[in-house]
Point group: C2
Chain length 334, copies 2
C-alpha cells in the first residue's frame, strides 16, 4: 500500500476556516472500479464555492461530512482506466479530485484536457470554471451595453481578472475593487479604468461614487458584505447586480447576515439582482471556451496564478484564498 | 373667490405619517392657463407610492416641499379648458389632481375616461394604476409559468386583489399574505388557494412554508419588511421576487433598513429580484387595459373599494391606507 496522504474534514469551521479544520490521513491508493479512473494528481484548484461545502447548512452542492475526503477541481494523468473512453497517459480534468496525490473519480465527471497553446492548468483558471464564470456572469446575466460601467469585486481574483478583461474587450468601462495596492496596480494594467482598495478606503460609498461618475450599471459581486452596499448605493437606474460569490461572508457563513437592506433602492432604480451559478450555462460552455481561447491566443488576456506546491499545502492555500491573501488564481501543483 | 379647501404639506413625517403632517388652506379656484384644464374633482386616489413623495430623501418622483399643495391620482369633470383636446363636461383622469375640490392640471397629463361597463372610478383602481401594476408586475416581471406558486403580500389591497385574480385566471397557484382574517376570507373567495394573516402569525417563515409546499416561485412584494424575509426564506430555485412596494417601511422611510440580507439565498436559488415601476410599461398599457376590461366584463374580476367621503377625509384615508386599515382600493369621493 503506497503512501497517499489525503486531506479529510476534521471539524466544521465556526467562523473563518483554519487549517486545523482538516487533517491528513494516509489512505490507500484507490482501486478504480468499472466506470472509474485512477489518476495521478497534477494540479488542484481551491475556489470560494468550497466554503459552502464545509458548512453543515444546506447549500446548492452537497456538503462534506466529518471524516470525508475533501475534493474539488483538479487535473491529473490517467494511471488506470475503468472506462473505454480514457486510457493511461490521458490528461483529464474533473471537479471531483480528492485532495490527495492519487485519486479515483467517476469517468463521467472527467474530460480530456485538449491541447492548446495555454498551459494545462489554464483549464482550472481562465479556460475553466473561473473564466467561464466571468464570461457568463458578465455577458449573459449582467447583459452589459456598450460603454456601461462595470464594477467588479475581488477584481484581481480568478473570476475578476477575467471579467475585467472581457469588459475591456467588449468596450465596457471596468472598475475594480481589490484588497491591496499591488492588486490595484495590476488591475489597471489589465485594462480596468480605475479601482479602489477596499481595505484602505475610509469611505467606500464615496470612493465608488468617485470612481464611477456615471454610476454603476453592472456589478459583478464576488464578495457580498460592505462592498455590496457600496455598489448598491451607487447603482444606476436599471442596474444589474450579479451575485457570483459571497467570500466576504466566509467568516460567518452559518450566521444570519444582518445589515443594510436595499429594497427601496431596488425599487427606485428598477435594479435586477440575480444569483449566478455556472452549471446553469453548461449548454454554452464550448462557445465560451472558444472565445476565451481565441482572446488568449490574440494576447488579449493576461492572467496571474498563485501557485502553492505539494499536497501538504492544499488547506493552507484554501484558507489563504478565503482571506484574500492570494494574488491571482489560487492553484496547488503536486 | 369661492371656497376651495386644499391640503398642503405642513411637515415631513419623522416616522409613520399622521394627519397633522398636512393642513388645509382655502385656496382660490385656479384660473387655467393655456394648456391647462380646470376640473371639478370627483374622485381622488391615495396610493402607497405617495409615501415616498412626502420624504425629503431623493426618490423616483420629485417630492413635495413644505407648503406645497398635495396631488395625486384623480378623476374630475372639465369646467373650463385651455386645450383644444378637451371640452367642458369631459370626465378625465390624471396623476396630478390637487387634494382640493377644484384643481387645474396640465392638459398633457389628462386622459378622457372612456365609457365602459365599469364605474368611472375603476380607472383609479382595477382598470388604472393598481390594476396595471398587478398585471405587469406579475406577468411581465414575474414571468410565471403554468402552475407555479405566486405569493402576494398586501393581497387584498389595490394591487394584490387584482394580482391574485390574474394569477387564478392564468392557471397559477396564488397564496395571500394579509393583515386581517376578514381580508384572508375575502382573498380565498377571489381565488387565492391559501393565505396567511401576518399580524396573528407567530412564525411567518413556517406559515409561508406550510402554505407553499412547492415553495415560492414568484413573490409579488408590496410590503418589504419581515414578509419579504419569510418569502425569501421559502424561495424556490429560480424564484422571482418583484419589488412593487415597501409599505412595511412607511414608518421608517428615511432611516436605513437594517435586517436580514439574503445574498447567499439569492445565489443558491439563482433568484432574480427586480424593482418594478409601472411607468416603464407605458407602451403596453392599452393591451393590458383591454385584458383587464375583458376579464371584468366576463365576471372574472371581483373588486373591493374602500371609499372615504369629502375633501376633509383625504389625509385620513391616506394614513389609514398606510397603516393597512383599508379593505380594498382606498378612494375618496368628493
Amino acid at each position: 500500500m503506497a503512501k497517499n496522504p489525503s486531506w479529510v474534514l476534521r471539524s466544521y469551521p465556526s467562523g473563518m476556516p483554519t487549517v486545523g479544520n482538516w487533517m491528513r490521513e494516509d489512505r490507500p491508493i484507490p482501486e478504480p472500479a468499472e466506470g472509474e479512473l485512477l489518476l495521478k494528481t497534477l494540479w488542484l484548484s481551491v475556489d470560494p464555492y468550497m466554503r459552502g461545502r464545509i458548512s453543515p447548512a444546506k447549500n446548492y452542492a452537497a456538503g462534506f461530512g466529518l471524516g470525508d475526503l475533501m475534493s474539488g477541481g483538479g487535473i491529473g494523468e490517467v494511471i488506470s482506466s475503468g472506462s473505454p473512453d480514457f486510457k493511461p497517459g490521458d490528461i483529464v480534468m474533473s471537479d471531483y479530485f480528492g485532495w490527495q496525490p492519487f485519486t479515483s473519480i467517476p469517468a463521467s465527471s472527467a474530460k480530456v484536457v485538449t491541447a492548446t497553446d495555454a498551459p494545462v492548468q489554464a483549464s482550472l483558471s481562465y479556460l475553466g470554471m473561473p473564466g467561464l464564470t466571468a464570461y457568463f456572469s458578465l455577458l449573459k446575466t449582467g447583459k452589459p451595453k456598450q460603454g456601461e460601467t462595470v464594477l467588479i469585486s475581488a477584481a484581481s481574483g480568478a473570476v475578476g481578472q477575467i471579467a475585467g478583461q472581457i469588459a475591456r474587450i467588449k468596450g465596457l468601462d471596468p472598475v475594480a475593487i481589490v484588497g491591496t495596492d499591488a492588486k490595484l496596480e495590476w488591475c489597471k494594467k489589465l485594462g480596468y479604468r480605475q479601482g479602489i482598495n477596499h481595505r484602505t478606503s475610509t469611505d467606500l460609498v464615496a470612493d465608488v461614487a468617485a470612481a464611477c461618475p456615471n454610476r454603476v450599471d453592472v456589478f459583478i459581486d464576488n464578495t457580498a458584505g460592505p462592498i455590496h452596499d457600496a455598489a448598491m448605493l451607487n447603482l444606476n437606474t436599471f442596474g444589474r447586480v450579479v451575485i457570483v460569490g459571497t467570500i466576504a461572508l466566509a467568516d460567518r457563513f452559518d450566521q444570519p447576515d444582518i445589515g443594510l437592506r436595499h429594497l427601496r433602492k431596488t425599487l427606485i432604480t428598477r435594479a435586477r439582482i440575480e444569483g449566478f451559478l455556472l452549471d446553469d450555462h453548461e449548454h454554452e460552455f464550448e462557445t465560451a471556451k472558444a472565445d476565451l481561447l481565441s482572446w488568449y491566443k490574440q494576447g488579449l488576456l493576461e492572467t496571474k496564478e498563485d501557485v502553492a506546491e505539494g499536497i501538504e499545502a492544499v488547506p493552507y492555500a484554501f484558507v489563504r484564498m478565503l482571506n484574500g491573501e492570494n494574488f491571482g488564481k489560487q492553484l496547488i501543483k503536486l
